[in-house]
Amino acid sequence: MSEDRRSHLLEVRNLKTYFFTRRGIVKAVDGVSFTIERGRTLGLVGESGCGKSVTSLSILRLISPPGRIVGGEILFDGVDLLTLDEEAMRRHRGKKIAMIFQDPMTSLNPVYTVGYQIAEAILAHHDISKREAWQRAVELMRAVAIPDPEQRARNYPHELSGGMRQRIMIAMAISCHPELLIADEPTTALDVTIQAQILELLEHLRQTMNLSMLLITHDLGVVAETTDRVAVMYAGKLVEIASTRDIFHDPQHPYTIGLLRCVPKMTTDPDGQRRRLETITGSVPDLVNLPPGCPFAPRCPEAHSACRQGEIAFTEVRPGHLVRCVARGSEVISHPPNLAVGLESQTGDGA
């Protein structure tokens, strides 16, 4: 890829995370490669079940049985996280890589005050007194714009609104000055005016703390407003990666094109006409025993027989704009698995 390697904070190479279920092997993440530069935000978009959350949990190595990371590398600042022992990994989690989730209520402990929980997170990685940790917790709450933080720190999670709880989660996430923040649908459960506040806060933190961010979302509006690059995922595979501007103005993969077309767009100048929305026919495939080739082929208006004959390689349609589509000139590799351009193949022998 064309970017300077040293600027990469995170480089995921050919990641494979499979779930070994009674029904068969679910290839939730199947050969995913991308990079995130320092201080930049990558959006990972796709519909439910496409593997975007499993990708983020894999980066933190939080996959539990029947799931397993069966192949690939996750290079964080040059170190492959998949080779670390559990103790070294724990030092990365929270301290260097932090994560926030869609529903803060499930991640907060209902029986402790929010101040206590932030202080705990600080104490886990710093050798300071409890009093100091509490002071820092209050400061962090101020940093995430919680009004009256001294009082609020003594509240329990249920006493706070959804937006405030998400701010608490963010305060906890930034408590150890992480370099990478993974945000998995951070505003999906929030009302739109509160969402605007939280997105603004994340952008402010990204700038002031020089954070890199992996933002996982299904909301294309949120992606357009907050990311520098976008990776589009479908059925466990990336189908397109490009700058945010290219994704929205010149999408290449038929799935990306379809996704952008079927979203109702709000305008300030609606006419009197009602139009039909464009749709993508059919629904997302079952990930068990997925046939070879492009997973989108059964729904794709541009599909032909070559799409089903083997793995589709990425092709670079312009510098930094990668797409995986036969109709855009991608090669079909009948003998897998060299999936990512310019990368050595990493075979995980899985089952």
Binding site: E47, D191, A196, L220, A224, P264, L277, T279
Partner: protein, 328 residues
């Protein structure tokens, strides 16, 4: 072109829920979920209720079908006062008024086949013979775009979008005139959401349906609605035809809501007035204009006097002390 006949007329509708507070639940305090709203829905239109969580839009929808009993007010459907009907009269009335829910899975009995689920309302209303009902179920499945073989299958075998189609088929079974659609596409992926939105439009065109469309998604509402009512803490702040709401929003809350929606265009100009503060609770709504605590233009009178909903232009109603005073 459109018939201006009133199908539903709501006058001063209120719904208070009693909430027990205090250590032993001894203090009772009402939540004023819907606090005196009036509006009409015309035959054949899609009236959209929008607002954030807790604004009372879902409660309003349920009150209209008397799925929950209003505290006071009146609801007229085709001229009949629904609140004066007894239980069996109301049940008969529900042939004409149906509801589609957000989560189609929770709304479908997992132990019943799709055929039984769709047939159930027909049985309750003693519609036709068994053979006729089976035929009607097949007809409905085709209408919502499902295969006839779905009849013998169970809800868990279907995807979210297909389940919503099943919910729609059941709602249509008795040929209703009015459907309350409560966030019907909010739980669906965007590619499937578009399919369901198109289906709802097609069904409206074919059957002349009238919709009360409840949603927090302003882009979806712009796509579907004829008129839009914006609610905040149990009250309307603005009601207007769709193009008016999106082109000339008058109430500061409507403006805030519209400017908060992220636009799927990286080059879009963002001149966002960042909303202040949090949404207050309906347990203890602010006095005067309920929005004054977050309003960038609030005047002293906004803290004391509740602004009435007034018609500032034909069909465009706004409840704001500043509107009409040319102050913004």
């Amino acid at each position: 072109m459109r018939n201006d006949e009133k199908l539903v007329e709501v006058i001063e509708l209120k719904k208070y829920f009693a909430v027990r507070r205090g250590l032993f639940g001894t203090r009772r305090q009402p939540v004023r979920a819907v606090d005196g709203i009036s509006f009409t829905i015309r035959r054949g239109e899609t009236f959209a209720l929008v607002g954030e969580s807790g604004c009372g839009k879902t409660t309003t929808g349920r009150c209209l079908l008397r799925l929950i009993e209003p505290t006071s007010g009146s609801i007229r459907f085709e001229g009949k006062d629904l609140l004066s009907l007894d239980r069996s009269e109301m049940r008969a009335m529900r042939r004409h008024m149906q509801i589609i829910f957000q989560d189609p899975y929770a709304a479908l009995d997992p132990r019943m086949t799709i055929g039984q689920i769709i047939e159930e309302p027909l049985q309750i209303h003693r519609w036709g013979t068994k053979a006729e009902r089976r035929e009607r179920v097949r007809e409905l499945l085709a209408e919502v775009g499902l295969d006839a073989e779905a009849i013998h299958r169970y809800p868990h075998e279907f995807s979210g979008g297909q389940r919503q189609r099943i919910g729609i088929a059941r709602a249509l079974a008795l040929n209703p005139t009015f459907i309350v659609a409560d966030e019907p596409v909010s739980a669906l992926d965007v590619s499937v959401q578009a399919q369901i939105i198109n289906l709802l439009q097609d069904l409206q065109d074919q059957h002349g349906l009238t919709y009360l469309f409840i949603s927090h998604d302003l882009a979806v509402v712009q796509h579907l609605a004829t008129r839009v009512g914006v609610m905040y803490l149990g009250k309307f702040v603005e009601i207007a035809p769709r193009s008016e709401i999106y082109r000339h929003p008058q109430h500061p809350y409507t403006q805030l809501l519209l400017s908060s929606v992220p636009v799927p265009d990286p080059d879009a100009r963002r001149e966002r007035e960042l909303p202040r503060g949090e949404i207050p609770t309906a347990l203890d709504p602010p006095p005067g204009c309920r929005f004054h605590t977050r309003c960038p233009y609030a005047l002293p009178e906004c803290r004391e006097q509740e602004p009435p909903l007034i018609e500032i232009e034909k069909h465009h109603w706004v409840a704001c002390h500043l509107v009409g005073h040319n102050q913004h």
